[in-house]
């Protein structure tokens, strides 16, 4: 008991300075190189849903990019758990002995509790939040090409629990979660014109938040959830605006003769990155949420769209159309760019919590892309034409 309490106090400090860990503790490898994987084993989870949840956990760990699931003899850490009426009791023990890395109860249904166990473990192992408990919202098209409908869906980040949220019978676009994950903003031409709606996932109610003349698209919640940035054309031209997330009158930020769209906030709320073609082909620009002169980012590609700011604030991921559909990452400190995907047909990046993995679509399929290795893993579902995924933070 005493040990457990002291461990809880010490662990966060150790995670802040992971290099100290080896010198102060006899625990096995806790510090990992960015792409080096820690070998872990999973003891079969106990309980009726145990076998299924063991697989869920293994999948979570492999997708985390931080560890490799191996036979117990080869593992430096072993995860074990028991499904309980309240959720799951999980524990991670170092092979070398000593205090558990994780020893906690996780509430919710078995699947949710298992994802939370995985996230707690990844947080303890890497010092960075895990994303196994995240969700994805996306649009999926059906019908003929010339008269397709796009509805909004939600699923777990591993593809499970896929649900259709809208039955608009219209073209729905760009679903984006609120920071707390409880709301989704999207646009639809359900009324005939393209309006912005907000779905409240807890009350299951939908409200209309922007229905100005012209287009009302690409709404993104500010980090505190109070404000939306979106593209409005009521002035006669698509411009970036802000608007209270409960509606009201917008504030115009840009004033160009070009096409301004796809705003995304920096995590500290001090800047907005968006797309404009005011200087020819579409590129990325930064502007203050109170307006002012935009600053162009040099992404070294001629056709870049769909910027998404990483949760750690350091990077912006975007789509490169000129390369046949690749994902690029702009480093705000070094001002350098990197193409982080392989193959083609990738678009619509959305960072996961760890600022390393990116959910995007590839030729109509959702994928989890590791921006360090370029590896893309499918997020399976039974739908086709999946576009514009967005993941919870």
């Amino acid at each position: 008991m005493l040990l457990s309490v002291s461990m809880r106090l010490i662990l966060p400090l150790l995670l802040l300075a992971p290099s100290l860990l080896l010198s102060q503790d006899s625990a096995p490898v806790i510090v990992i190189e960015q792409t080096r994987k820690v070998d872990v084993a999973i003891s079969p989870i106990a309980g009726a849903e145990g076998p299924a949840m063991t697989k869920v956990l293994q999948n979570d760990l492999e997708r985390s990019g931080a560890c490799r699931v191996v036979e117990p003899a080869a593992a430096s850490l072993t995860l074990s758990g028991t499904i309980t009426p309240a959720g799951l009791a999980g524990r991670v023990l170092p092979k070398a002995g000593g205090a558990p890395l994780v020893d906690s109860s996780f509430n919710g249904d078995a699947r949710r509790a298992t994802h939370q166990f995985a996230d707690a473990f990844i947080q303890a192992l890497t010092g960075t939040p895990g994303f196994a408990s995240s969700k994805i919202t996306f649009a999926s098209a059906s019908g003929t090409k010339k008269n397709s409908k796009k509805e909004i869906y939600i699923c777990d980040i591993d593809g499970a629990n896929c649900r259709q949220l809208t039955q608009d019978g219209a073209l729905g676009y760009g679903p984006k979660f609120s920071p707390d994950g409880n709301k989704i903003a999207y646009s639809s031409d359900k009324s005939g014109y393209r309006d912005t709606y907000i779905i409240d996932l807890s009350s299951k109610k939908r409200s209309i938040v922007a229905q100005f003349p012209g287009q009302n698209t690409g709404a993104a919640f500010s980090p505190n959830g109070s404000t939306l940035a979106l593209s409005l054309s009521k002035f006669g031209n698509p411009e970036i605006c802000t608007l209270s997330s409960s509606g009201g009158e917008p504030t115009r930020l840009t004033n160009t003769r070009g096409t301004d769209c796809s705003p995304c906030w920096s995590p500290d709320g001090s800047q907005i990155v968006y797309v404009s073609d005011e200087r020819g082909s579409p590129g990325l620009y930064l502007i203050s949420p109170t307006g002012g002169t935009p600053e162009k980012l040099n992404t070294e590609s001629s056709y870049t769209t769909e910027p998404d700011w990483s949760p750690d604030g350091k990077k912006i991921a975007y789509s490169i159309t000129s390369g046949g559909g690749q994902i690029g990452v702009y480093d705000l400190e070094t001002k350098k760019t990197r193409i982080v995907s392989r193959g083609s047909g990738l678009e619509s990046p959305s960072w996961t919590r760890n600022s390393r993995h990116i959910i995007c679509s590839q030729n109509g399929t959702l994928v989890l892309l590791d921006s360090l290795t370029g590896e893309a893993i499918k997020v399976p579902n039974n739908l086709s034409n999946n576009t514009e995924p967005n993941t919870t933070r």
Binding site: N147, L171, G214, Q215, P238, T321, E347, S348
Partner: protein, 166 residues
Amino acid sequence: MKYTYLSLLALLAILSGCADKDKKGDGAAFGDSTDNIYDQALPERSGNPDTADYDTLKSETVFFSYDSFTIEAKERPKLDKLANYLSNNSKTKIVIAGHTDARGTPQYNLALSEKRANAVRQYLIGLGASGSNISTIGYGEDRPSSEGESDSANNANRRAAPGILR
């Protein structure tokens, strides 16, 4: 050459004149940016673009180059005809539905198609049409007139089509 330059000046004069008119007509001047001649504030909504009649004025569909919202010289006679139609039918409300080809990403294609529709609307206003009778919508790449990504399909799909609202 000189003639073209003068026409351009005349068009700019018409555009800025209309911007002022629209600003008053709209009643809700917005921010401090209303002197932008590219601003032709959109009218309150009417009708439903989804069920508009896109057949009657089909031959006045304007086509665009890749990633462009510029109205090319060869397309302008169609807009002369359309402006003429509007002046003869001053009660008719139309929507300009913009479209892109299948290349590019969804949000930018939505905005680019809206921008194409806006550009056609502004051009019509420049020719004397009433902006309050012209709404716009952008369908991005999702209402192609021709399937696939061949050059001919792409050329056919990059368009702004006038529809009569009913």
